[in-house]
Amino acid sequence: MEVLNYPLEITYIVASILFILGLKGLSHPESARRGMHFAEIGMLLAVVGTLLSGEIVSWEWILSGIVIGSVIGTLMAVFMPMTAMPQRIAISHAFGALAAVLVGINEYVVHTEKAYGIMPALGFEVLFGALTVTGSLMAFGKLQGIIPSAPITYKGQNIVNIGLFFLVLGMFVYLIFFPFDAAIFFTMITISFLIGIFIVMPIGGADMPVVLSLMNSYAGLAAAATGFAINNKVLIIAGSLDGSSGFILSIIMSKAMNRSFANVLFGAVGSPQVDTSKLHEERPINRFTVEDTKFVLEQADRVVIVPGYGMAVAQAQHTVRELSDALEKRGVKVDFAIHPVAGRMPGHMNVLLAEANVSYDQLLEMEVINPTMDTADVCIVIGANDVVNPAARTEKSSPIYGMPIIDVDKAKTVIVMKRSMATGFAGIENPLFYESNTKMLFGDAKNVLQELVAEFKKN
């Protein structure tokens, strides 16, 4: 029996409570910052408590690590553009998981006798940790454009992946019974690293957000397993919180993309490769100019703006805000309709518009705005496509049938800003564009919006 260090244990309990309260704060923008302060204090307590616990006998490596880590972390946080958020989260998962793997290896090689009793937890820890490290790095590479973002596939890929998976599983079971076999231990880690690479390889860049959330979940599981291995409850709790978070976000995304969750969980995520060139129907569309748009907007009492991935690509969020200001100055009521998976990351549109100083109570969720959509005079769709595709409501044969969408087609006039008739992420045709009340305003979102704002400024 180890002797319990009660002050340390109490500190850890308090830290756990603070983490939970921190995440509870995120239920509303009002309480979010206070919540994060709770979580930060929790982390500080856990660290300081550990440092003062009496287990620390040498300080030089700790200090070096903390200083170097803080500098790198601060630089990354301060100089990173908001648009690079997915990459940053990806690489950060890799770091977190790496720490878990190293702690696990240390337990195994240094505290050998103790490690043997806790092999199940230790195995989980290094296994999940290792595949999260390389999986996240792959995701980072694809998002950053270092690795080609297209799916990399080859014949027999599934067989190789499944084979490796069972190989690792076998080694894990073997180690539980014969933990002394260090060669197998390290081989298992190496193969786990490989699996991380292999399972992300065949996944297209656009699907990376789902991968990110899964990695979040896995990193959480690795941390929880570490908690079991070193008998540390705060690790178990923090790990479970992360695990649930990643899990729930993956569910939300897969639901909103109309994919089964199993499909996502087992890594069979691939960008749909539809040849869109032949899709365009020969039905007529209505084109609008910037002047037409201004004319229609001037008549409106209520305008709803629906942003999508195109707004992020064009970096048009600030210009959108200017348009909204110009309209409000003329007494028009402006709301933003935010679809849960607009963009490429949960909450993507909200962060961009918040960055551009749009008030968060103007950002309405799909369920809130849809019932009022028929009272909108004009709906401006800015670089959104799939999330406003009425085929999800009407066409049983459509791959997105059943997915909830923003009912822009119920507004009196719909103005769609995009560069072409091209399809969005799902690669499917959008009948909205051919509706009689839909007007197409072609061009890069930022350029078009700048012209429009300039028009409003003229008089």
């Binding site: 995440l23 509870k24 994060m36 972390g73 960055e355």
Partner: protein
Amino acid sequence: MTNLVELLYILILAGFVGFEVIKRVTPTLHTPLMSATNAISGISLVGSLVAAGSDHFTSQMLGFVAVTAATINVVGGFLITERMLKMFKRKERK
């Protein structure tokens, strides 16, 4: 692990808490949520510190790298979350 049963309870209950709490996170803050949990997952720092602060050289080396990696996670994650949350403001509207 003499307290395996208790740890299992803690895992399960924390999973329930996580599930309930995360479900209530407003979709508006899903991106900050991702970076916040990312920062919290830097809790591995606690384990890393003990390794880096031991008197065994291998532990110190493994621990040093782990401390660095986990600190990047914690410091970077919380800073970026703060930076994002600071942007979410409510304007006084006339």
